[in-house]
């Protein structure tokens, strides 16, 4: 066996012995990230459903009690996203009660439909029908001057902008629907044909509809973003980068206790020792990632969450994971070389990983971050790792789709290791 390989293997074995004896450290490395991803996936489950699977309470003060208001509320209720509450303490809600209940956090949205709303829509429909019918000499419907009427929306101050938009657009859609229906009824009435208005209207509105279909690859079901699909890879990668804490403290303690000096006294051992150390922690990181995936595949469904889908290219995933592991380990090696004390290095290492995770899209997908931060994501290796994981696990991509991410991770990792080695070399000369 070549001497270099012998030295590398000896270092890997030595690191394994040290880790095996540090049961607490091993549990922190392997169990804590598992707990983290379970907690994060559960906590973020509702936000990730993005109001598509969640039903919201909707307080309604219907002062109009008309067909129009009934059509609007029926539409909202049938959408499945809203549960309409018209009464409180066996009394119909009014504007004051709606506002009071929202302030108490009883619901997130309140709607007040003013008296005369339907009459106003009918009047407007009559006006339009008259102007169209006039041109065709079909007769006239009664009209009066228009008045401003508004359906008023109230939101709990804590409700998110996406909820506000969702309610606004849903309401707008049903107002358009109801108004169009009224108009068609008026025109039909003027034309003298009262038999087909309803059917014709439904035909118009069902001619072109919107239907979502999941992207599929090679006959396999493609995953869609959900709490598990985002959180498991994202937090697994975050956990992998937390390897910087043990590596950094490990390196600094070796210098402090003197064992690093012993290694410096052995000719041609430095590089092999560094490679062995990086390889060992890469293996730990990789193992950590697959344990997290196992949690996503088998434990998450038991907790009522969707199961993690791993994509269709296990080899490509392994390459990506090794790239992430190399970058994470190299970062730890770099910090361990540059910091003098554990007290300096550990908080910096941990906080820097949290910051890199934040800008890298671990908490929130990068697409949802502000534009300025979105560009900053490119400097975060966690972003590249997560982006690669999404390519493989969500979009059904393969090796060809992740080479940019793997290249960035490997180049960055190599730079960090080289800078760490250089610093270690310089340290002895510059004391």
């Amino acid at each position: 066996m070549p001497h270099v390989l012998q030295k590398i293997l000896a270092t890997i074995y030595k690191e394994w012995l040290l880790l095996r004896r540090d049961v607490g450290g091993m549990l922190v490395l392997l169990l804590m990230p598992a707990v983290l991803i379970v907690v994060m996936a559960m906590v973020q489950d509702a936000p990730f459903r993005d109001y598509q699977e969640v039903t919201f309470e909707l307080l309604v003060a219907d002062q109009d009690q008309s067909d129009l208001s009934k059509t609007l509320l029926q539409g909202l209720e049938e959408s499945g996203h809203f549960h309409i509450i018209r009464q409180h303490n066996n009394q119909l809600l009014d504007t004051v009660q709606v506002k009071a209940l929202l302030k108490k956090g009883y619901a997130h949205v309140g709607i007040v439909i003013p008296k005369g709303a339907a009459a106003e829509v009918s009047n407007a429909a009559n006006q339009i029908a008259n102007s169209m019918a006039g041109a065709m000499s079909m007769g006239r419907l009664p009209v009066r001057a228009q008045k401003d009427r508004h359906i008023t929306l109230y939101f709990d101050p804590a409700s998110k902008p996406t909820l506000r938009s969702a309610v606004y657009f849903a309401l707008d859609k049903y107002i358009t629907y109801a108004s169009s229906r009224q108009l068609l009824q008026r025109l039909t009435k003027l034309s003298g044909d009262t038999t087909q208005s309803s059917q014709t209207f439904e035909n118009i509105f069902s001619t072109l509809t919107v239907k979502e279909e999941a992207l599929e690859a090679k006959g396999l079901k493609a995953a869609s973003i959900n709490s598990v699909q985002h959180n498991v890879p994202a937090w697994a990668i975050f956990g992998m980068f937390f390897i910087v804490v043990p590596i950094t403290s490990h390196l600094i303690r070796e210098r402090e206790e003197g064992s690093a000096m012993r290694l410096e006294l052995i000719p041609y051992a430095q590089l092999s020792v560094a490679v062995g150390k990086v390889l060992f922690f890469m293996l730990v990181c990789t193992l950590q990632f697959y344990i997290m995936c196992a949690v996503g595949i088998w434990l998450m469904p038991l907790l009522g969450l969707p199961a993690l889908q791993m994509g269709q290219h296990p080899l490509a995933l392994l390459v990506l994971v090794l790239g992430i592991a190399f970058c994470a380990t190299s970062y730890g090696y770099f910090l361990g070389a540059y910091f003098k004390t554990v007290n300096q290095a550990m908080p910096f290492g941990a906080l820097s990983v949290v910051i890199l995770a934040a800008v890298g899209g671990t908490w929130v997908p990068v697409e949802l971050l502000p534009p300025a931060v979105r560009h900053t994501a490119l400097i975060s290796p966690l972003h590249w790792g997560l982006s690669g994981a999404n390519q493989l696990m969500l979009r059904g991509g393969g090796m060809a789709d992740i080479w940019p991410q793997v290249t960035v991770l490997v180049v960055l990792g190599s730079l960090l290791v080289v800078m760490g080695l250089w610093k270690n070399h310089r340290r002895s000369l510059s004391v």
């Binding site: 030595k14 070796e254 052995i266 510059s430």
Partner: protein, 249 residues
């Protein structure tokens, strides 16, 4: 083959941010196959000198040769000839003594059988054969010192450099270490060592050099130095006469 195991010529060293130089033009010649004592008060530059000889620090000026090899140009060759026993216990505390030695043996590119044999012999020599499978962190101070010494001997160096090897150890461990050093020297090896225990140095060393403030003060055999110093009966008297009684930090 060079006559001097270690040859130091006008060595200077200034640490970054320090007010005074650690070494200020030091000269030293350690002949081969001698036990040589490098003596001096705290802060005299002893550890710095040993560290530069071993290539752990770079010098600010001057040159150091080990067995004819320049320490800066031929560091690997120098390290092959040297075994350093530093003041710190330069071992992995959470590994057993045997695991430490096996690991260092692999890094020295020794074969499995060589490693096994040397570990067995050295543990026996240092009276640690019953404790080889215990974590070094659980050793007593004396045991740790002896294990530290074994780690420096694994590759059978020609020059053994020891930085206060008997500091803080009990009488039995000290006697064992001193006895071993004499035995190792008898095999034709060179020993360069520092100590504050001047009685020990007087009886062990064939030659000593007293240094202070990074410079040579006096060199010779202990008997010569005692003879040259008026009123001196032992090496400690020589030491105090030339380095003064003021306390050093």
């Amino acid at each position: 083959m060079p006559d001097a195991a270690v040859l130091i010529n006008d060595l200077h060293k200034s640490y970054r941010g320090a007010f005074t130089a650690a070494l200020n033009g030091l000269f030293l010649e350690v002949p081969q196959n001698t036990i040589y004592g490098l003596l001096g008060p705290n802060g005299a530059g002893k550890t710095t000198t040993l560290s530069i000889i071993c290539g752990l620090f770079g010098a600010s000026g001057g040159s150091v040769q080990v067995m004819g090899y320049d320490t800066e140009k031929h560091k690997a060759e120098v390290l092959r000839h040297i075994g350093l026993v530093p003041q710190k216990i330069a071992l992995f505390g959470n590994l057993t003594c045997e695991e430490n030695l096996r690991y260092f043996g692999r890094l020295y590119q020794l074969s499995g059988s060589e490693i096994k044999k040397r570990i067995k012999d050295l543990l026996h020599l240092m009276n640690l054969e019953k404790h080889g499978d215990k974590n070094v962190s659980r050793y007593s101070g004396g045991m740790q010192r002896r294990a530290n010494l074994i780690a420096a001997l694994l590759h059978e160096p020609d020059i053994l450099i020891l930085d206060e090897p008997t500091a803080g150890v009990d009488v039995q461990s000290r006697a064992l270490i001193i006895s071993f050093l004499k035995e190792y020297h008898a095999q034709g090896k060179t020993i360069l060592y520092t100590s504050h225990l001047l009685d020990e140095a007087e009886h062990l060393c064939q030659a000593v050099s007293i240094i202070d403030e990074g410079k040579n003060v006096l060199s010779g055999t202990p008997a010569q130095l005692i003879g040259q110093t008026p009123g001196a009966a032992k090496l400690e008297d020589v030491f105090l006469a030339h380095t003064g009684h003021s306390i050093r930090d």
